[in-house]
Every structure is written in structure tokens, then in C-alpha cells.
């Protein structure tokens, strides 16, 4: 069954990709959607098996790399953690496939699109079923490739190409850390197999080895290297810059790859490697701090963006930060639970945004939206559910997972835990603010469509409606087709119910039997303590959430002059947020420009110094010598005779003693 789940999408991707043109658009849509749909159904079956306590198992497919003591297989490992990921990946992927049939219906390259989507699904499945670090790396790079291809799907847009390149290269920086982590693990454990390294991890705690000439703690170094990989894939502060730009890809891609699945790969990897991180408390603290900073940073930027997709992208970045600081305080189950619920409501928000963009003729700037709730009611209601879920209103999904994380951070009773709780609570307030801001700007107020170039084009093409002067420009947004709305409705059900239904298994009383060996905090399970959190601290984030809502109401419904006044008063801060804390500018100065400058410098060194001294220099020298030696050729016999004489004397004086010795012997 697991083989079918993993390889069916690959098969569909190959068929749609290579033969799509011959077989037609409809065929490509059906085969890829069908394959992933079947994989999704089977995944739920496996998931329910684990809910009722199946034993984890591993299916070996074939040998992959064997060299000396290194031996690793293509193998599919299935345990509770994998089962959760299977459900997340295949459910969201199948719904995104379905949605794309509607959303991409006018695109001339749909076969390629569906092929990439299925290829992505396959790579993601390889990642979550890996039984060793290298196969995980295969999936890891595979999803990176699919992401690159899909971000750059509209290849005629230079911005899309730039974003695709950036995503791949920034991820490579993360992979650099990840691969060094793999090498270190092989050096220390003599294996890259999860079962072997996890079993031996406790023996390595507190030992040190040499890394770049320094003596460092083995487990801390390994875990930090792996975390660098996770930071790249999951867009944590410092390596996050690619994620907002990745919104250049089609919206279904953003929903699937850059919200629900691929970007959570880092969280999954850390959870999978929790037996290692348990032995590296210092590394966990770093994870916690970086996660908390990311949650806060991205939330601040999210409040200032006007592009609907970028707001959701920063929101994703911020929510990933929550998952990481949950991992950092050892609440692995809570992190995966938030990954699970987040997949539903964030995919929902993205697909909803796609539906809005669809209705608004490709306009993505929220400043040109407004009043859309009447024109596209189903999109509105489903997105409303998504917003309620993400902001953490009980009993929707986000409430269960996010509050558990914040409670765990608080009850960790560590400095980093309090730090994370503090930033997390502020971020929760900001999350509420920017999420409602998005809703209000999009669906409420008066229509501001006339200012949109996209809408003007649309209206102009229709040759009617020029008489409208009410901000609608005579444009009539239409609700999306059912093929797009059904995924929204299903995801809305998930966003509403996933937390309530599953929290006992993920983070509640049933968690020990549910997770078993897949995730087990060996030292101290912080989730044991969260019942004991003081009521004030328990409800503070919820109060922040209400406050964020009120702020948004005040700014975008009741008194619309507020945002302008605010940005005027705090223009420095606003610019700082609007420009995303100037990370792109900083990296351009620090890395990109120096790299190109050095490249040109070295290239000229090749031409001028190496060739100058080497072949060209030698050639010049030969010519020079030839010219000089020409001068010696005077033509006078006595010159030559003199030279000959000197030569003979020199030869004799050298040879005589030697010859004598030879004779003597």
C-alpha cells in the first residue's frame, strides 16, 4: 500500500509530463488528480490504522549506495509521524490538483503544470517516508526542484525566474548545513540510518569532536547543522528571503508547496530527528530562539504588505516560527499538531486568495479590493473560517494547536521558553491584526476596483460598463466554479474541526499511544505540565487575538483614516516593516555583489596573471630570447672561435676530475 501511495504520483507525473501533449489536457488533469486522490484515500486508511495502534514498519525497495562501511537503501518507513505527513501531503495535494483544474483552465501549459504538481507530491512523499538521512535528502532536494520549476512556471516573467533561482540557491545554503550534518553523523555513528543513529545518540551526549579546527560538542554541532537545513526549507529568519518571492508561482502552488507541505519539511525533519535533538539542549535553545524571532519578524512584515499573497506568505513564515519554537522547548507533538492544522487553514487561505484573484482578474493588490463578500460569498465564508482558525478562536483548529504551543513554551520554565512565549503572544496579536486586515480590505468596505489596471483591462475588453462611477468600474466579479469551491469547502471543514477532533491524539491524553516511538521526549515531556499554566498566561494570547481584531476593525472598518495616521507617525518603523527589515538589500551587499566582483577579479587574474606568467609569458620570453640571441650571431669567425674555446675549457675542467675518478675506480 505504501508503495502505491508513493509511486502512483510519480507514475502520473511521468505520463502527464512526457505524453501529456499527445494525451490531452483533460487526460493529464484526470490522471494526476486521480493518482494523488487515490494516494490520499490510502493515506487516510494508514492514518486510521495508526490511530488504532498499528506497529510501525519499513519496506525496503532496493539498495542505493554502498561504499565501504556506508550502505543505504531506498526504503519506505511508516510510523505515526509519517502517517500524519502522508495525510497532510496527499489530502492537500489532491485538493490542490482538483482546484487547479479550474484555476489553471486557461493556461496553455496545463500538462506541464499537473506533471510538476504530481512530481512534487512524489518527492514530498519520499521525504516523509525516508528511513535514512540521505533518502530524506533526495526528497528534500526533489521538492526543491519541483518548487523551483513551479515558482518559475510562468517562465516569460523575469520576476518569476528570479524568484525561482533565489529559492533554489537559498535552499542550497540550507542544504549545505544539512549535508555537513549528514557527514558528521556518518563520521560519528558510522551510519546514516535513523534506527542506528537514534539508538546510539544517547552514548554521544556530552562528547566532543573537531570541527573546523575547534573542539565542539558532537550532538550540538550535528543538530545545529541539521537545523541550518531546516531553516532553509522552512524559511526561518535569515534564510527566509526566498519564500515571499516564491509567490510569483501560480496560487495553487503557493497553497500546496509554500504553505501546507514543503515548507513544513524542516519541522518534520527536526521532529524525526528528535532523539538527536534531545541530546543537544543547546541546539534546542537555538531552534527555540530562531523560531520565536521568525514568528515575530514575519508577523510584523505581514501587517504592512498590500499584496494578498505576500501577506499570507509572511503569515506562513510566522506560523512556521511557532512550530520551531515548539520543537525548541521539546513539545514535538505540539509542533506537528500545528503543522497538521496549519496545513488545512493555510491551504484554505491561499486557495481562497486564489479564488479572489480569479474573481478580480489577476489583481493581487488588496488596495484595489473591497466589498467582495456579496459577489463571491462562498469564497468569503470559507476564508472567514480560515481566518477564525488561524487567529485561534476556540474551538477552531488554530486555537488548539497554537495555544498548546504557547502554553508549552511558557511551562518550559526556561529563559528561551519565556522569550518564545513573549514573542509568540505578540505575534498572535499581530496575526489576528493582519489576518482580519486582509479580510476587511478584501471583503468589506466599498469597492476600490476602478483603480486596478487589471480590472480596467478586463472592463475595457468587455466594451461595456463604462458608465459606472462607483469604484466598481462596472466590473462584475464572479464566484469561482465548483471545482475550485469544493476544495475550499473541504479544507474549511478541516480548518474548523481538525483541532477539536485530533487534539487528544496529538497533544492530549492519548498522545503516548498515538506517537509511540515516532516522537518521544526522553527527558521531560513539557506537555505533561501545560495543564498547570496559570489562567492569566493561558488566556493572554487569546486576549491579544481579540485586541488584534479590534485594532483591525478600528483601522479598516470604523475609522479608515487610522492606518494613514499610523504610518505617518511611525514612518520609520513602517518603512522598516514594509521593506521586510531590509534583508534582501543586506544580502545583496554581503553576498551577491561580492561574489560577482570576485568572479570578475579572478577571471581577469586568469587572463592577466596566470596566462601572463604562464603560457603567454613563456611565449613572450621565447621571442625575447630569440631576439637577444640573434644579436650574438654576429657573423665574425673569431667571435665563434672564442666562444668555442671557452666552452671546451669549461667542459674539460668539469670532466677531468670525473674522468679521473672513473679511471681510478
Amino acid at each position: 500500500m505504501i508503495q502505491t501511495i508513493v509511486f502512483l504520483p510519480l507514475l502520473a507525473a511521468i505520463i502527464a509530463g512526457l505524453f501529456g501533449r499527445a494525451l490531452g489536457v483533460r487526460f493529464s488533469q484526470l490522471i494526476t488528480t486521480g493518482a494523488v486522490g487515490i494516494a490520499a484515500l490510502l493515506s487516510w486508511i494508514i492514518f486510521t490504522q495508526f490511530l488504532s495502534g498499528t506497529t510501525p514498519y519499513t519496506v525496503t525497495i532496493s539498495n542505493w549506495i554502498t561504499s565501504g562501511s556506508l550502505s543505504l537503501n531506498w526504503a519506505l518507513k511508516v510510523d505515526t509521524l509519517t502517517a500524519v505527513m502522508l495525510v497532510v501531503v496527499n489530502s492537500v495535494s489532491s485538493l490542490v490538483h482538483l482546484y487547479s483544474i479550474g484555476y489553471m483552465s486557461e493556461d496553455p501549459h496545463q500538462q506541464r503544470f499537473f506533471s510538476y504538481l504530481s512530481l512534487f507530491t512524489f518527492a514530498m512523499l519520499m521525504l516523509v517516508t525516508a528511513d535514512n538521512l540521505v533518502q530524506m535528502f533526495f526528497g528534500w532536494e526533489g521538492v526543491g526542484l519541483a518548487s523551483y520549476l513551479l515558482i518559475g512556471f510562468w517562465y516569460y516573467k523575469p520576476s518569476a525566474n528570479a524568484a525561482a533561482l533565489k529559492a533554489f540557491v537559498v535552499n542550497r545554503v540550507g542544504d549545505f548545513g544539512y549535508s555537513l550534518g549528514i557527514f558528521a553523523i556518518f563520521l560519528v555513528f558510522g551510519s546514516v540510518q535513523f534506527s542506528v543513529i537514534f539508538a546510539n545518540a544517547p552514548h554521544m551526549a556530552g562528547k566532543s569532536f573537531e570541527f573546523l579546527g575547534l573542539h565542539v560538542d558532537i550532538m550540538t554541532a550535528i543538530c545545529l547543522l541539521l537545523f541550518v537545513g531546516a531553516m532553509g526549507k522552512s524559511a526561518q529568519l535569515g534564510l527566509h528571503t526566498w519564500l515571499p518571492d516564491a509567490m510569483e508561482g501560480p496560487t495553487p502552488v503557493s497553497a500546496l508547496i509554500h504553505a501546507a507541505t514543503m515548507v513544513t519539511a524542516g519541522v518534520f525533519m527536526l521532529a524525526r530527528c528528535s532523539p538527536l535533538f534531545e541530546q543537544a539542549p543547546a541546539a534546542l535553545d537555538v531552534v527555540c530562539v530562531v523560531g520565536a524571532l521568525t514568528a515575530f519578524f514575519a508577523a510584523t512584515v505581514g501587517t504592512s504588505q498590500t499584496d494578498i499573497k505576500r501577506v499570507i506568505a509572511y503569515s506562513t513564515c510566522s506560523q512556521l516560527g511557532y512550530m520551531f519554537f515548539a520543537l525548541g522547548v521539546g513539545a514535538y507533538g505540539a509542533a506537528i499538531f500545528h503543522l497538521f492544522t496549519h496545513a488545512f487553514f493555510k491551504a484554505l487561505l491561499f486557495l481562497g486568495a486564489g479564488s479572489v484573484i480569479h474573481a478580480m482578474h489577476h489583481e493581487q493588490d488588496m488596495r484595489h479590493y473591497g466589498a467582495l463578500r456579496k459577489s463571491i460569498p462562498i469564497t468569503f465564508i470559507t476564508m472567514l473560517i480560515g481566518t477564525i482558525a488561524i487567529t485561534g478562536v476556540p474551538p477552531f483548529a488554530g486555537f488548539y494547536s497554537k495555544d498548546t504551543i504557547l502554553e508549552a513554551a511558557f511551562m518550559a520554565h526556561s529563559q528561551v521558553g519565556y522569550f518564545a512565549y513573549g514573542l509568540g503572544a505578540i505575534a498572535a496579536t499581530l496575526t489576528s491584526f493582519y489576518s482580519w486586515r486582509l479580510m476587511f480590505l478584501t471583503f468589506f468596505g466599498e469597492a476600490r476596483w476602478a483603480t486596478s489596471k487589471h480590472i480596467q483591462h478586463a472592463v475595457h475588453d468587455d466594451h461595456h460598463g463604462h458608465d459606472a462611477h462607483d469604484g466598481t468600474a462596472g466590473y462584475h466579479p464572479h464566484e469561482s466554479p465548483w471545482v475550485m469551491l469544493i476544495p475550499l469547502i473541504l479544507l474549511a471543514i478541516g480548518a474548523a474541526a481538525a483541532g477539536f477532533v485530533f487534539h487528544t491524539h496529538f497533544v492530549g491524553e492519548a498522545r503516548a499511544e498515538f506517537w509511540r516511538a515516532a516522537i518521544h521526549p526522553t527527558k521531560h515531556d513539557v506537555l505533561n505540565d501545560i495543564e498547570g499554566i496559570p489562567l492569566f498566561w493561558k488566556w493572554l494570547p487569546t486576549a491579544g487575538m481579540v485586541f488584534g481584531l479590534l485594532m483591525a476593525l478600528n483601522s479598516y472598518i470604523w475609522n479608515r483614516a487610522v492606518p494613514k495616521q499610523f504610518t505617518d507617525t511611525f514612518s520609520m518603523m513602517y518603512k522598516f516593516f514594509l521593506n521586510k527589515w531590509y534583508f534582501d538589500e543586506l544580502y545583496s551587499v554581503l553576498f551577491i555583489k561580492p561574489a560577482l566582483w570576485l568572479g570578475r577579479l579572478f577571471w581577469s587574474a586568469d587572463k592577466n596573471i596566470i596566462d601572463g606568467v604562464g603560457p603567454d609569458g613563456v611565449a613572450a620570453l621565447v621571442q625575447l630570447t630569440a631576439k637577444r640571441s640573434k644579436l650574438i650571431q654576429t657573423g665574425y669567425v673569431y667571435h665563434y672561435a672564442f666562444a668555442t674555446l671557452i666552452g671546451v675549457i669549461a667542459l674539460l675542467s668539469w670532466a677531468w676530475p670525473h674522468a679521473g675518478k672513473a679511471i681510478g675506480n
Binding site: I65, S67, Y155, N161, R172, F176, S179, G213, P615
Partner: protein, 486 residues
């Protein structure tokens, strides 16, 4: 099969084909038939190869040259795979030159056939003089291919190529003569057993290094390669990248490591130092190239630096990884040069800026180019990954610094290759000159198909290639340990 002199046959078949071309013309078909025959023989060679021994197989030993040296052939797994690689690439080179070569076609095909014979000679020689003859003679056809059928600056490029490689070889010849006089044998297996004194080893190692470093090429004696590639015809570049560069790595494996283990350990800092510089330096230079071929040439230097790093890790993973990296690089950069050749044949320029948006008219080409780009950046599942991964893994054992610096090269590799791809393939098709460009022809698809298949084969099931290497590399690791410091 053992009694049949298959190695000699493989050397003679291309020579016979050359003779037929001289006599009867019909160069294309004869050359194709000759190289295909050799490929079939190579497959037979592989199928009859015994993976379970480090000893030389298919040996032939004739004393036709009197006492001076002997015609002694034989292969281990390392040589076998390099011979298969050569025999695999040659028919593709012939096909790639099918239409693009207009002048002196007979001579061109003969040059390629002679080169194939010499390459197989290099990889199968078990006599040091015989090796030297093949090794040096291999220069001549390549020199002619660049100098006669090359681009505008072909004379400069071919002289540079010749001077560089010859200069290195002179020192190697002196070292070889010294070794023969000292040990009294020209047999490579016997020389491997002979233990040279430590200080002698150092000088001999340096002399061989001079030759192999140029061939690899290692920084800073790499500058002949970009010029040679740019000026060479497409198939010439394929052979240069695919086979000729492998002679340097093979030399290190066959001579420097087993014969001078002590010196290899003592002087490893030279290798690591130059290779680390090469990885960063040439990757950065590749980033700013404006000529497609130059970019790929510089990327070759960076990739070959991985090979040298791996060879001198003295461990199984590092050395096996580097051999795999050699094979993969032979396939992938050969294929990338063919990709450049495809558009060069149509547009007669290699300027990156002259292209853009090719995917609009050449979707099949875009796919092929993407596959090789990904293999070049070492995406897991392609051939590029396994070698690179094993090298870095092995290097990590030897020195974390080396692994660390080399891994930075992997990031840069992605940057320059994907940027190249973007500028050539993606974007809107705006240039008028490109409006009528045509997608891959059937002949071109036939050339790329086997290359793609091998890229995935090596990536997904590298065991086929790692198994023949197991025993010889294990023996090599043993040999380097005997005299070595560890």
C-alpha cells in the same frame, strides 16, 4: 572470453575503421560502425568482468618490443569503467559531428577513431612506457581537432593546450626513466609493489603531479581548458571533457597513490589546497562568464577539483566517489557541451546574451538541458549526486575544512548553472534571430536519450558502477595505508 584478446581488439577496431576510411571514404558510416562495434565490445567486457577481485583482468602480455618494454595490457574495475565511458561517448561524438563538420571530413573522423584507440590504450596499459606512449600520443589527435576544425582562435588554443600538457609530461617522462633504472622493471603491477625511498617518492610524486595536474586540470594550470573548449568543435569538447580530463585522475590512481603512498600523504596539502582554491575560484569565475562553453569549462575545473579531493582522502568513500564523479562528469559535461552544440549549430554563437526564451520554441531541448543542468548541480537521483556526496563524505573524514569549503562550491554550482539556464532557456522569446529556431531533430534526440538514461541509472542505482570499483579501491586504500602516515 579470457583467451580472446578483447583489449587489443578494441584498440585495433578504430584503427581498422580509420584505414577503411582512407581506402574507401564513406567516413560517417564507417566511423559510426567502428565506434559502435567498440561499444558492443565494451559491453561484453563489462558483462564478463569479475567484480570480486582487485587483480588485473583480460591481461595480455607480448614481448614484441624486445627487452625495452612489453606490450602488457590488463584492466581493473577503474580502467574498465573508463574504457566503457570512452566507448560509450565515441559513437555519440560521431553522431554529433554528422552534419556540423563540412571540411576534411575523412581526416576528422580518422582523428576521432585514432583518439579512441589511444584512449583505450591509456586505460589498459600495464607497462609504464606503453602507457606513456599512449598518454602522449593522445594529445596529437586532440591538438589537430582543435587546430584544424576549431573556431576563430583555434591556433592559439591548440598551442596553449599542447604546450601546457607537453611541459607537464616531460617531467613525468624523466621520473619514469628514473623509476625504470632504479627498479629494473617497466611493469606497472611490479612497480606498485616496489617501495621507493621516502625522499625519492617526493620528487617522483611531484614530477607525475606536474603532468596529471595539467591534465585534470587543477588550478592554476587550468587556463588552457576554457580556451581549448571554446575553440574545439562540439564533439572535440565532449571527448576533452568526457575522456581526456579523466586521464589525469586515472594517472593519480594508477601511479601517484599506489607507487608513492608516503609522498601522497606528505604532499596532500598541495592537492587539498589547490583543489579548495579551484572550487571557489573557478565557480566564481563561471558565474560571470558570457560564453556558454567557457562557463561549462570553468564548471569542469570546479568539478574536477572534487575529484582530486576525493582521490586524496585515502578512504573508500572518497576514492569511489571521485571515480564516480569522473564518470558522471564525463557524461554530464559531455552532454552539456552537446547542448551548447545544438544551439551553436543553429545560431553560430555561444554568447549567452544572444539567447533567451528558447523554451518557447524548443520544449524538448529545454527538458534535456534541464536534466543535465540538474545533474551538474548534483541533484540527488542524478549521477552528479552520488559522486559528489561520497567525495564530500570521504573528505569530511580527512578534514572538515576541505569538506566545508568544497560544499560551498555546491551552492555556487547551483547559482551559475541555473542562472545560465534562466538566461538561455527561460524568459520571453523576443530576439528576432530566434523566432524560427527549431527544436531537437531525431538525430539529436537519439544522441541525448542514452545520456539521459545513464544519468538516471547512475543516480538511482549506482551499485552497477560502485561494485566493480569495490575491490580495486579497497586494494588502493590498503596500498596507500602501508607506507602512509596513518
Amino acid at each position: 572470453m579470457y583467451s580472446f584478446p578483447i583489449l587489443t581488439t578494441m584498440i585495433l577496431v578504430p584503427l581498422a575503421a580509420s584505414l577503411l576510411i582512407l581506402l574507401f571514404g564513406n567516413a560517417r558510416m564507417t566511423a559510426l560502425a567502428g565506434t559502435l562495434t567498440n561499444f558492443v565490445l565494451a559491453v561484453i567486457l563489462w558483462m564478463n568482468f569479475d567484480n570480486n577481485t582487485a587483480a588485473f583482468q583480460f591481461t595480455e602480455n607480448l614481448s614484441i618490443f624486445g627487452t625495452a618494454f612489453s606490450y602488457h595490457l590488463g584492466i581493473d574495475g577503474i580502467a574498465m569503467l573508463l574504457i566503457v565511458l570512452s566507448a560509450f561517448l565515441m559513437p555519440l561524438c560521431i553522431l554529433a559531428s554528422w552534419e556540423s563538420i563540412e571540411k576534411r571530413l575523412n581526416e576528422y573522423m580518422i582523428a576521432f577513431l585514432v583518439m579512441e584507440a589511444l584512449m583505450i590504450g591509456v586505460f589498459s596499459s600495464l607497462d609504464i612506457i606503453l602507457f606513456y606512449v599512449f598518454f602522449e600520443a593522445g594529445l596529437i589527435p586532440m591538438y589537430l581537432i582543435i587546430g584544424v576544425w576549431g573556431g576563430a582562435r583555434r591556433i592559439y588554443a591548440s598551442f596553449k593546450f599542447f604546450l601546457y600538457t607537453l611541459l607537464g609530461s616531460v617531467l613525468m617522462l624523466l621520473a619514469m626513466l628514473y623509476m625504470i633504472s632504479k627498479s629494473g622493471t617497466t611493469s606497472i603491477p611490479e612497480l606498485m609493489e616496489y617501495k621507493f625511498a621516502a625522499h625519492t617518492q617526493m620528487w617522483l610524486w611531484l614530477a607525475f603531479f606536474a603532468s596529471f595536474a595539467v591534465k585534470m586540470p587543477m588550478w592554476p594550470v587550468h587556463t588552457w581548458l576554457p580556451d581549448a573548449h571554446v575553440e574545439a568543435p562540439t564533439a572535440g569538447s565532449v571527448v576533452l571533457a568526457g575522456v581526456l580530463l579523466k586521464m589525469g585522475g586515472y594517472g593519480f590512481l594508477r601511479f601517484s597513490l599506489p607507487m608513492f603512498p608516503q609522498a601522497s600523504h606528505d604532499l596532500v596539502w598541495i592537492i587539498f589546497g589547490l583543489s579548495m582554491v579551484a572550487v571557489i575560484y573557478t565557480s566564481l569565475v563561471a558565474l560571470v562568464q558570457q560564453d556558454m562553453k567557457k562557463l561549462i569549462a570553468y564548471s569542469s575545473v570546479a568539478h574536477m577539483a572534487f575529484v582530486t579531493i576525493g582521490l586524496f582522502t585515502f578512504n573508500q568513500q572518497g576514492i569511489q566517489g571521485s571515480i564516480l564523479q569522473m564518470l558522471s562528469h564525463g557524461i554530464v559535461s559531455g552532454a552539456l557541451f552537446l547542448c551548447v552544440g545544438v544551439v551553436y549549430d543553429r545560431m553560430h554563437t555561444r554568447e549567452i546574451a544572444a539567447y533567451g526564451g528558447l523554451v518557447n520554441r524548443m520544449p524538448a531541448y529545454a527538458l534535456v538541458f534541464m536534466i543535465f543542468t540538474m545533474a551538474s548541480v548534483g541533484l540527488p537521483g542524478t549521477s552528479g549526486f552520488v559522486g559528489e556526496f561520497l567525495v564530500l563524505l570521504g573528505a569530511y573524514h580527512a578534514s572538515t575544512w576541505v569538506s566545508f569549503v568544497a560544499a560551498i562550491g555546491v551552492i555556487l554550482g547551483a547559482a551559475y548553472m541555473l542562472w545560465l539556464y534562466w538566461r538561455v532557456i527561460f524568459g520571453a522569446l523576443t530576439k528576432d534571430s530566434l523566432k524560427t529556431i527549431t527544436d531537437l531533430s531525431l538525430r539529436e534526440k537519439v544522441i541525448f536519450a542514452p545520456l539521459i538514461a545513464v544519468v538516471f541509472w547512475m543516480g538511482i542505482y549506482p551499485a552497477s558502477f560502485l561494485k566493480p570499483l569495490d575491490k580495486p579501491v579497497a586494494k588502493l586504500v590498503q596500498q596507500t595505508r602501508i607506507g602512509g602516515a596513518r
